[in-house]
């Protein structure tokens, strides 16, 4: 774990990040290595030195040792907790569970809770009566719960499926204690989405610099479009904008340091982020604080807005809002514009990895253990992950043996963008402490800034830092 880490990040030693007692860096830099496998068709050279020597199984040749379904009949029960509540994702879960039953004869008991509630309740859930296995996120957010003994280490499962992943993934699912706690099943980049037809009709070109970006926003405004679709009723979407601005302005290392408490929120570098952000707010959707991202996405479907910075999962809303598929065919995206500084070369972005974990406190776990492991192993197969991908194109498979010929144009492009990135982050609420990122923590602070961007930033940043300082010590 440590060697990959060092290899990936070079100059930042993990120990430095650890000083505050909060393990943050590990797992942030993962995806470049992933791409060695995923983008074999795209022939993008891997972004990191460690990726090259990694054995990468060919996309079309699944390794039997890896994630292929075990043809062993299972008995008993298995309780599965899922946050896949959107209709398309539900279909994906049903397809996967049906395939699992076909392979093993075991019908799983599925507990679906909507995405936002699932996150809100994760503590209660894991501390009380969790299912045997559950959907979760890699990064600090996984390690936090692993360190609280709320997840069960699955090194034996990982040993069996490891060969189906590029090396960087091991870091993504390794806890502070060096044990593996998750199986990565999908990822998606955060980019700026737009409609090709709108750009060609109005003669817009994709902006690559900040100046171009602002000029385009102004032009869209005069053309009667909402330049940037934005929605933050749920509190977390704004974090994506903070992440990318901080990465562009201050670079990956500062961002990671800030997320893990090594850097201070009172730093003038953070002020620069908020100052830059102020330029974008006039271009946002009216009433964004009262809208969910799905509602903002619909303005893009209806061509009422020009651009939208969001994760690739937004394609799911395109499927819902325009079942004909025409709007989605017209969808394209570009990486967030560059600011012309030394960090441009990092080409960094948020590309969170979703994982499956095994709980620790499930009352059924002892009885269901073998089934739970079989299920996790099943999810490590490309063939399983592609079932979810087919139901919702926002989830790019992580397994090396995933059949990339199934990918649509958007996904192929997404794979390329991620592979071109030198530095990858997970997302603010996955890279920092959950008790810092919550509804009346960072979500509220960002909303507070957005509703009153003209406020005294020094005071504002101090209040964020005070909140951080108040949090109980993290004993990882």
């Amino acid at each position: 774990m440590a060697d990959i880490e060092t290899g990936l990040k070079g100059q930042v030693s993990r120990r430095e990040v650890l000083k505050k007692g909060l393990v943050g860096a590990a797992g942030l830099t993962v995806l470049p290595t992933v791409l060695a496998a995923c983008s074999s068709a795209a022939s993008t050279p891997s972004a990191t030195p460690t990726a090259a020597p990694t054995p990468t199984p060919g996309a079309a040749t699944p390794t039997p040792a890896a994630g292929t379904p075990t043809p062993v009949a299972l008995t008993g029960a298995l309780h599965v907790g899922s946050n896949h509540s959107d209709p398309s994702e539900k279909k994906g879960m049903d397809a996967i569970d049906a395939a699992f039953q076909a392979a093993t004869g075991l019908a799983v008991t599925l507990n679906t809770v909507d995405h936002n509630t699932f996150q809100d309740q994760i503590n209660n859930y894991l501390n009380t009566t969790p299912d045997d296995v559950f959907t979760w996120f890699s990064g600090f957010r996984m390690r936090f719960f692993a360190s609280k003994s709320l997840g069960t280490a699955i090194d034996d499962v990982w040993a069996g499926v490891k060969s189906n992943y590029t090396a960087g993934f091991t870091t993504a699912v390794t806890g502070d204690d060096g044990k593996v706690y998750g199986i990565p099943v999908d990822y998606y980049p955060w980019c700026v989405f737009y409609r090709k037809s709108v750009f060609s009709d109005k003669g817009y070109t994709v902006p690559s610099t900040w100046t171009d970006f602002i000029a385009l926003c102004n032009k869209m405004k005069t053309d009667g479009l909402t330049p940037i679709a934005f929605a933050d009723k749920d509190g977390w979407p704004a974090m994506g904008t903070f992440d990318i601005l901080n990465l562009r302005i201050n670079g990956y290392d500062f961002h990671v340091g800030l997320m893990t408490g090594k850097q201070k929120w009172t730093d003038p570098k953070v002020t620069a982020v908020f100052t830059q952000w102020k330029q974008l707010i006039p271009f946002y959707t009216a009433g964004f604080a009262g809208l969910t991202w799905q509602q903002a996405c619909d303005t893009l479907v209806q061509k009422k807005s020009g651009m939208f910075l969001l994760g690739l999962f937004l394609t799911g809303e395109f499927d819902t809002a325009d079942p004909s598929g025409a709007a989605k065919k017209d969808l394209d995206f570009f990486p967030f514009p560059f600011l012309g500084n030394q960090y441009d070369a990092e080409k960094s972005l948020d590309a969170p990895i979703d994982i499956w974990m095994m709980s620790a406190k499930s009352q059924n776990l002892q009885a269901d253990l073998a089934n739970a492991k079989a299920y996790l192993k099943f999810w490590a197969a490309g063939s399983t992950q592609v079932l979810m991908y087919k139901a919702n194109n926002g989830f790019i498979p992580t397994a090396s043996d995933a059949d990339t010929t199934q990918y649509d144009v958007l996904t192929q492009k997404a794979v390329q963008i991620v592979s071109a990135a030198q530095k990858i982050t997970q997302f603010l609420d996955r890279d920092t402490r959950p008790d810092f990122a919550g509804a009346n923590g960072m979500q509220s602070f960002l909303l507070n800034f957005l509703s009153n961007p003209g406020q005294d930033l020094t005071k504002f940043q101090q209040s964020i830092q005070d909140f951080w300082d108040k949090l109980p010590a993290y004993t990882g």
């Binding site: 509540s85 959107d86 209709p87 507990n111 679906t112 809770v113 909507d114 995405h115 936002n116 509630t117 309740q121 209660n124 859930y125 501390n127 009380t128 009566t129 969790p130 969910t292 799905q294 509602q295 996405c297 619909d298 209806q302 809303e317 819902t320 809002a321 009352q363």
Partner: protein, 302 residues
Amino acid sequence: MSAVAIPGQRVKANRRRLRLSRVGLHLFLSVLAFVFAWPMLYGVYLSLRPFSDIITNPAGPFSLPSTLTLDNYAYVIANSDMLRFFWNTAVITIPAVLLTLWISSMVAFAISKYSWKFNLIVLLIFTAGNLLPPQVIVIPLVKLYNAIPLFAPLSANGRLFDQFAGVILIHTTFQTGFCTFVLSNYMKTLPNELVEAAMIDGAGVFTIYSKVILPLCKPALAALAVLEFTWIYNDFFWALFLFVTGDKRPITAALNNLQGQYVTNMPQLAAISMLAAIPTIVIYLVLQRYFVRGLTLGAAKG
């Protein structure tokens, strides 16, 4: 107070002024009634419109419908598990109401018909507890529920947490505070001679409770049943924090999830809201008399 109450006095002189003020009164009340009824009326209207009407119209929902249909209802019932959530509501609400009435009537009987040292203190403990904001106790309660073992079939996971039994228990406990208060006041109005006569006939405490007092409390019990049904049905808070299994949630807490899923399709969201509102509105309209009596019997309810 009005002219009707004072017949024969200055009637003629006042009649015109009075008629005018009556018109004004009705105008005021009608406008206000419309404002009050509008959100529900609009909810019904929107739920009957096809979504395509709204997205194709430049003014969105501020438009006339191309057609009115029940399709949205059919769709959400088929796709949202609403029937399961209604069933969960019934599984929680009905036992909770019955238990509340049974337990509180016993406590009320004991403290209103027999004098003990602690009558008043017991009443105060119940009443004050009933007025506490539930958020004050929810953190320890979650921990406590997870620590209390419970056997099958009352619990599927061996705990009180995430179980119907746990939610029924907290409703029963909280509402017992209120119902005890109301019923003890009601029972105090029943003549004590009834109890004395029964005692002389050799009736035991339980017989007096079940055969003498309880039948006389029927009006109060009926009123409380209607009221408690509505309150427990409408609970959002306990169901939200005492369940983690999505499929166990009652309809109100499930709305929190459904909102996220249907937020972009306002007509379907309206259909969901209307369905969730129907049971209490029907109960209210059919049993209005009991409902209002229940409220006024114990106006102390917070």
